[in-house]
Symmetry: C2
Subunit: 216 residues, 2 copies
DNA sequence: GATTATTTGTTAAAAAATAGATATAATATG
DNA sequence: CATATTATATCTATTTTTTAACAAATAATC
């Protein structure tokens, strides 16, 4: 009954579809076609339909998709029908920016507490959230039903933080540190690697991918 | 002579290899095998060799790769042998965090100026960088040889900023706003989408990808 | 009410990416 | 100096992902 072997690219695109559908919903548009979705977020109609087809039949032939209903279906697929409790580790600049980022809460992700090993910061509030010392982190996770941790500490400390996290009931890590974390299989890690993104951009610019002439 | 049709995944991995090699270099290790690189950043030796093979022969059979030399080769491939001048648009929290992120400069990317349309911020300094008004942006790009722009403004304004940028000699955009930007083909865009990352994480956690039993 | 327009869901084909296997080169060893 | 060992480079096969084509279903039109 379970569908799996879903391409990760498909899951990413579902997230973008959902965000786009949320925008369309605000304009009180009731129905939308795969072609319109594709145009709205840069893709092809076939890909939109294929992505959705992994999970079921959500549209009506000859008509399209009900915007609100499809968006809800996608949110269910992505696991966004529940609220996710998160903690943030690292109260530096990046941590501060992340703690104030509204996009998370809008999508059901809420940062409940911030942890840092700088004792000058511990006890202070950051954007309305208390900063705790790292050594209280494991207990806090257990006590507050935290399932996702955001690592925003310098690269040198990231693995140490991860080592603590994997001993707790944490299920996923969003890692902003520019290092490859080693964790057991049961903990999901996603890396947001700013430098890698810039370097791919650099490569693409240098090799003029789009203006490249045809060649054989 | 040009090699192309390189998988984007390969380019991303090259960036990670390079960062890992930089670490290894610091330990004054001279030689390294594809297996050691793979272990160091979570991959397979075959994949490391395949990725490198797209661009040439950098190793010695029976020996491995010279760390320093390979790192330099990869940096050349990625276009990191030159310095990249960037501007940052958006002096909010995220912009502030990005302007202070040291990882960029270490890899040859330097933010030269910051732009914002909040006149209360214009004229101030942010982490040692001047904040200019958006209407001076186009001239600044031309005058200072800027080739990459980082967009860190709210989603509602991101397309407006992009529209200005595409009229300048800018070559690439690193977009942090949670919207799909529409730009002409000759401008490269990379999206760093924080919510998408969290939502993929959410999906993976809910569907227990790693602990999934085999099934047919 | 039959016919034409759309637009989906599905199947098939194509392309891309990953993994595996083998041949080759360099080094070290006896 | 021949041989065993190590590790790359290359070639092949498998798997995965994307793209395209087509049949089924709905709505609109004459």
């Amino acid at each position: 009954m379970k569908e799996f072997k879903i391409p990760e690219a498909t899951v990413s695109r579902l997230s973008v579809y959902s965000r786009y559908l949320t925008e369309v919903e605000k304009q009180h548009i009731v129905s939308i076609s795969s072609g319109e979705i594709a145009e709205g977020m840069g893709g092809t109609p076939a890909q939109v339909r294929k992505d959705l087809a992994y999970f079921g039949e959500f549209g009506t032939r000859g008509v399209g998709y009900n915007v609100k209903q499809l968006n809800q279906e996608i949110k269910n697929i992505l696991g966004l029908s529940k609220k996710w409790n998160m903690i943030l580790i690292g109260a530096g600049n990046l941590g501060s920016a992340l703690s104030q980022y509204h996009g998370f809460r809008e999508r059901g992700f809420e940062i409940k507490g911030i942890f840092d090993n700088d004792l000058n910061k511990v006890g202070l509030m950051l954007n309305g959230l208390p900063i705790y010392p790292i050594n209280e982190m494991a207990d806090y996770i257990e006590a507050n039903g935290i399932s996702i941790a955001i690592i925003a500490v310098p690269g040198d400390y990231a693995q140490d933080v991860a080592d603590i996290l994997v001993e707790t009931p944490i299920k996923g890590i969003l890692n902003f540190a520019p290092v490859v974390l080693t964790v057991p299989d049961e903990v999901e890690v996603r890396n947001v690697d700013l430098s890698v993104n810039l370097e791919v951009l650099s490569y693409n610019i240098e090799n003029n991918l789009d203006t490249m002439p045809e060649e054989e």
